[in-house]
Amino acid sequence: MKSHWQILVVDDEEIMCESLAAWLREDGYGVDTASSGREALEKSRLKDFAIYFVDLKMPGGMDGIETMMQIRRLRPEASIIIITAYATVDTAITAMKEGAQEYIVKPCNPEEISLLVNRIIKVKNLQRENTILRKKLTRQYSVHDVISKNPRMREIMNLATDVASLRSTVLIQGESGTGKELVARALHNSGDRADKPFVAVSCAALAETLLESELFGHEKGAFTGAVAQRIGRFEEANQGTIFLDEIADMSSHLQAKLLRVTQDGRFTRVGSNKELQTNARILAATNRILEDQVKAGHFREDLFYRLNVFELNIPPLRERPEDILPLANAFIVEFSQGRARFSPSVAAGLERYSWPGNVRELRNAMERAALLGRGELILPEHLPARVRAAAESAPAREPGEAERLGEIERQAIIQALRKHDFNRTETAKALGISRRALLYKLQRFRELGYPVDPV
């Protein structure tokens, strides 16, 4: 159905209005009519019309051009189609100059109107999609949106805000899964290159020769299989940002070529002698300590200093446990469209786990939990086994005697439940308590997030 797009037909002749409206309604659009420019403006204030058909000749002070100009002021994103029976070149030119998207002469061919509306709607759908995607991107990756209460992370994000608009290279170091690429995107999106391309390349994913042609491009015939000229990522990222991930894995030959680019932006395509120039900003990342790689002779010292103008070291999640719950919450909200919440035992368990895979591991665990928990209450059994095991094996503190007693009771009840296939009456009988007492206890366990119902 395409009916979410609304159309307004403006014509002083009622029969013209109604006939065009009826025709468009058959196409499934929501259509309204107005018999004057004034009425059209009134209706425009109340409803968001995407397309207007406006008759050029209308009596009573406001003709089609005037009406169109006022509509454009009110709804600048709407498309306006001028209709007229008096086709002259002059009026067509005036109408188009004032911002009409199209101009039709009545009576027109039915095919013309359908094609016209379809074409406009197609563009509008793309525009809407684009706006949504853009919003999503900037929302996800702006520096200010990085979730952290950790003082070291705040410091890093402050530095990131400061360097976002510079051209200087930045070296981002951190364990796998700490979100190095996200930080790079945030840097890009918060700077003045935000509307320019962001190109990410993983230097570990490709063999040396392939990486060279990936980064710098190649000429036709440069090597077997180079059937056509190809522009490289540095050219693609011109005016924008290039993000080189896993930079420590780069071969020494490419390190030399990269050094050249970091110095003056010059490089050559594979198989060509012609020097090209790029203005791309370079962000590099690695999960190793690059300085150690330099000392061991695996990484060029001069390139290291070139890349390391600013250094952002992202601490692993286990060094900032205060971020676990806020991050987990943000992910669960994202994956469950805001409906899911954690049971208390889950929240405690998440904080106890060491998260060797860092934020990525946490994010994946939350995606899984949102699915298994059907987007409602997240219970311990919705977590991956290793997270659950860590949570159970390493209690945060020694439990008091009352708590220990409660735990013994809980385990006894859960075991009995399982033994009796979750039949409450039989379980209560076996435990020697009333069914009512059992139900009451189960309700309390359920609230605390323990699995007391058959899965």
């Binding site: 002749e13 006939s19 009826a22 196409d27 499934g28 027109c108 095919e111």
Partner: protein, 180 residues
């Protein structure tokens, strides 16, 4: 008992009318009744030498019988609405009355040799299309579906004389809907 009426203006080819009535009866599973509508002279526009489809729909609404669920008129006259050069037909969306013009469905209209088979196929498809509007269906993006918008006979020839599955399902859900 509610009927689907198929009305005919005076000049309509009776064989074509019978074929269309039969096809519509089969498609919608409603009992079909015939109705004579006389001349469309009142809707003639001398300036355009065509017949206005809006006055025709108004006339049909006035004359729609009590026991009619829907009234679909068939005419040989070339129809138009003011903003368009012509229409193959027009119907109230989800309403009671609609009209189909056979004028532009004949090969002769385009200076070609008459072909009764092609003509009848087009007539079915357009009758189904307008009747579909009466049962609340809007234009379908599926090019083979009878509810896809055709503004040329070529487009009519390309579609099937049947509804696509989603349109047929919508039709079944329509209140007082058809037994398709």
């Amino acid at each position: 008992m509610r009927y689907l009426y198929v009305g005919a203006t005076e000049e309509v080819d009776r064989d074509a009318l019978a074929a269309v009535s039969e096809r519509v009866a089969m498609q919608f599973g409603l009992p079909v009744r015939g109705m004579e509508l006389g001349s469309l002279g009142f809707a003639f526009d001398a300036g355009r030498a065509q017949y206005g489809s809006i006055p025709v729909l108004e006339m049909l609404l006035r004359r729609c019988p009590e026991d009619a669920d829907k009234l679909l008129a068939v005419t040989e006259r070339d129809l138009f609405i003011p903003v368009l050069t012509f229409v193959f037909g027009q119907a109230q969306l989800g309403g009671r009355v609609g009209v189909v013009s056979l004028a532009r469905l004949r090969q002769e209209f385009y200076g070609l040799a008459a072909n009764p088979e092609v003509f009848l196929k087009r007539a079915y498809k357009e009758a189904l299309h307008e009747a579909g509007h009466l049962f609340g269906l809007v234009h379908c993006a599926e090019r083979n579906c009878a509810m896809s918008l055709a503004t040329t006979v070529r487009q009519i020839d390309l579609k099937d004389d049947a509804f696509c599955a989603p349109c047929a399902a919508r039709l079944r859900r329509h209140p007082g809907g058809a037994n398709v």
